[in-house]
Amino acid sequence: MKKKVLSVLLASAMVVSLAACGASDDDTSAASSSSSSSSTSSSASTDTASTDTAASTDTAAAEDYVLEKLHIVVDGTLTATVDSGQQEFEAQWEEAVGERLGHPIDLVITQLDHSDYTGTVSRMLATSSVGDEDYPDAMIMSASMYRQYQTTGILWDMASAYDNAEFQARVTLPTVNENMKTADGKLYGFAPTYGNGCVTYIKQSWLDAVGKTVDDIKTFDDYYNLLLAFTNDDPDGNGSAGTYGVIAAGFGKLDEAPYINYMPEFWQGAYPSFYQKDGEWVDGFTEQATVDALERLAKAYADGIIDPDTEEAGTKQAREKFFSNDQSTSEGVFTYWAGTWLRTLTNNMSKNEVDDDLGDDRLVQLPPIKEIVDTWGGYINREAPVWVITDDGDGSNAREQAIFDALLDTMLDGDRVQTLWTYGAEDVHWSIHAEEFSTNADDPDKRKDYSYEEGEFHLKQSPNDPNAVWKKNHLDSVLVIAPLTNGFVDDDELVTKGNQFFTTHCVDAPAAAACDTLTANQEDLTSKKKELMNLVVAGEITAQEAMDEYTDEFGDIVEQILAELNAQ
């Protein structure tokens, strides 16, 4: 009996001790929650007028606020990684910004895995709170991610800071950020560049092999016949089959706007997500244009002109197969990012000794086919990725304004700090000192010599690859909304040609949708759409059956989402 009593007492002690632990956890959560809700309510109750009025007070408070440490979270778009001179970038940024602010500042960069960025950020925010070492002060977000986060209360409304930023006088593309403001004038993210988009690249050698030129490709039928020729007419000249017309990272990238940019010729006027059409929000996935697009993809898949690896390939796998040293199982067409990526793809083909005789003319850019021009008007220019600042919810904007001043205002200073973000660290990624170097120094066929005089701006060899010249850091000098004023320009003709081609042939992507029901069901919708898309393309179900299943499962939710979006 005593044993039982003792057991009960021990069990009770355990429960009480656990409950005590739990209670302290509850307090933390509650504090975190209240902090979060207070920030929500504070942002909700603050109107534009009062923001303006408060701006001067906040700026004054920010001047008094000493930001000693800045923790930023970035994805793979910061190309100065830890293996590629990030330490030097940090040190030079701290020196430049510290001088400007008048006090030292410690920059802490957390660079997350690019492919799981969204999930890791959400876990990071959920498992830490403002003031914790891990909690980010500022982060990069894609447009889709930003739209979902802007109503959470986690992000700081930077409209006032943006309007009063020093770089405003030099902004050449004001609409990029103005278009991101909410109906009531709030701005939760800042885009230092415009979005950019994808264009279709074709291997010149394969065009030559099948006796075609890019001028022959005007319509979808022309494009389709080209893919057939690339698949069946031995474009690599090895005498056997194995090649494919086209590869992409997925038949459609349904988890990230603008969804259709990796296979625009097949998707044409379709947009498999929520978008505004004639002023009203619609679900593009259920439209006839999407049904037609899925049927086109299914036919191409059945005809064997789409590389089957497309279904599960990530962008890295797709592009590596495209410029692979083994062209016998490669593809002739690849739709990918414009501008700098034209140079990167060309360099990688060179590195793999593909079409060396063609030099920088290895790839030719395909102007949008008729069906794309007749629907969207051109290739899609995506909504720009943004920088966001976390709101600590303390009712004062001092910390947030200080972060804006240190990070975002300096990012486009036109000079020293902007150069760091654009090209990287001085004498690591770029230099103005006289020097000579060679890439592929040991290979007489591929060796390229570079020689620069004192004072001449130039990019250096990549810190992690002496056979390649560094290209850029986070900001693309051609896409930036306020250009550099110090005259530092990397005049790579191929990059310039690529950017000019894209800007000539692009149209802005539809604005991403955001509402509570969509946020709550985003993953389920995306997952189902991916599943159905892949089943249709593989020929296991028809496009109409896919639509029926989608409507049956998500019809009510879609209606609710559309009602919320159209009520905004």
Binding site: D116, T118, S122, M145, T519, D524
Partner: protein, 317 residues
């Protein structure tokens, strides 16, 4: 109040036990040694369990509020959840039956092998796949079964004239489950033979000698001596593994894809997608799904414990 048991000596004299507190004090050294383990168990195993309360909260980056059973209501109304639930049960149970059956067959064959060198070599070879990670196994079989020209199986079948067009084994709803079971048999059968071989080595040789005297053939000896001797072990292995049927993640995660969700998505992969693949996950919902999975697992453990008591006279917990 039940009747107190009286502890007696072998001659029947009652032993007067000292009070528990005194016995504890006398054994204080042992209790002191146990204390770090007790604290470790509390912190590492029980403290995290407090997180199950989030199953009753709307816990996202946007909200943190008590919502009672709403997460469970949402879960039970979600088709994808039920699909994952039934897939979990089906894949686990069939996998368990097939791998156990295969392990028994191979154990019996190994037991019959007279050449010890060949027997030991074969044992080593069939144990090896168990030590390979699931990621590697999935990569090997994906390549092996690939639809492309590098896919060994498709190319062989085509060269033999069995098929005209390559089969997309890993993306086919009809083929995915058979492939999954086959890969599991390949990876785990060898390891599964360990316990059966141990049982077989304990069979009294006199039983085989008696069967020889009776003129039994090799097959008759297997059927009438070996298999009955294994029956109890087979049952125990099945019961012990039945308790773990809800724990299915890695093997499915590395082999499935969007096209086979209908036949392959299991509860753990469903939770993973809901919790880790979305920008603003509702951790309350994913905790509710996880809690439900744990409860089902708990019930299965209790059922197995009951079955174990019936079969071998003692429980598994």
């Amino acid at each position: 109040m039940g009747k107190q048991k009286t502890v007696t000596t072998s001659s029947g004299q009652p032993i007067r036990k000292k009070p528990l507190s005194i016995r504890m004090w006398n054994s204080r050294g042992y209790y002191l040694m146990f204390l770090p383990v007790f604290i470790y168990v509390l912190i590492v195993y029980y403290w995290p369990m407090l997180g199950v309360r989030y199953a009753f909260y709307d816990y996202s980056l946007k909200n943190f509020e008590f919502i009672g059973l709403d997460n469970f209501k949402e879960m039970f109304a979600t088709k994808d959840f039920w699909r994952a639930f039934f897939n979990t049960l089906q894949l686990s149970v069939i996998k368990l039956l097939i791998t156990t059956f295969a392990s028994v067959i191979i154990s019996v064959f190994l037991n019959e092998m007279g050449n010890m060198v060949a027997k030991k070599t074969l044992q080593t070879v069939i144990y090896l796949p168990h030590f390979m990670s699931w990621a590697v196994v999935a990569a090997i079989f994906t390549l092996f079964l690939s639809k492309s020209s590098s896919g060994f199986v498709n190319e062989t079948l085509k060269s033999w004239g069995v098929i005209e067009k390559s089969i997309d084994f890993m993306h086919s709803k009809a083929w995915w489950r058979p492939i999954y079971y086959m890969v599991n048999v390949w990876k785990e059968t060898g390891w599964g033979t360990v316990i059966f071989l141990a049982t077989l080595s304990g069979i009294n040789p006199e039983l085989y000698e008696a069967a020889d005297i009776d003129g039994a053939s090799r097959m008759q000896k297997i059927w009438n001596v070996t298999v009955p001797a294994l029956a109890n072990t087979i049952l125990i292995v099945l019961i012990l593994n039945l308790a773990k049927v809800m724990n299915l993640f890695e093997s499915v995660f590395v082999m499935y894809n969007t096209r086979v969700y209908k036949v392959a998505d299991v509860i753990s992969t469903y939770i993973y997608r809901e919790g880790f693949m979305t920008a603003l996950p509702n951790y309350g919902y994913t905790t509710a799904v996880g809690l439900f999975k744990s409860l089902v697992g708990c019930v299965l453990v209790l059922v197995c414990n009951f079955a174990s008591k019936k079969v071998r006279g003692r429980g598994i917990i």
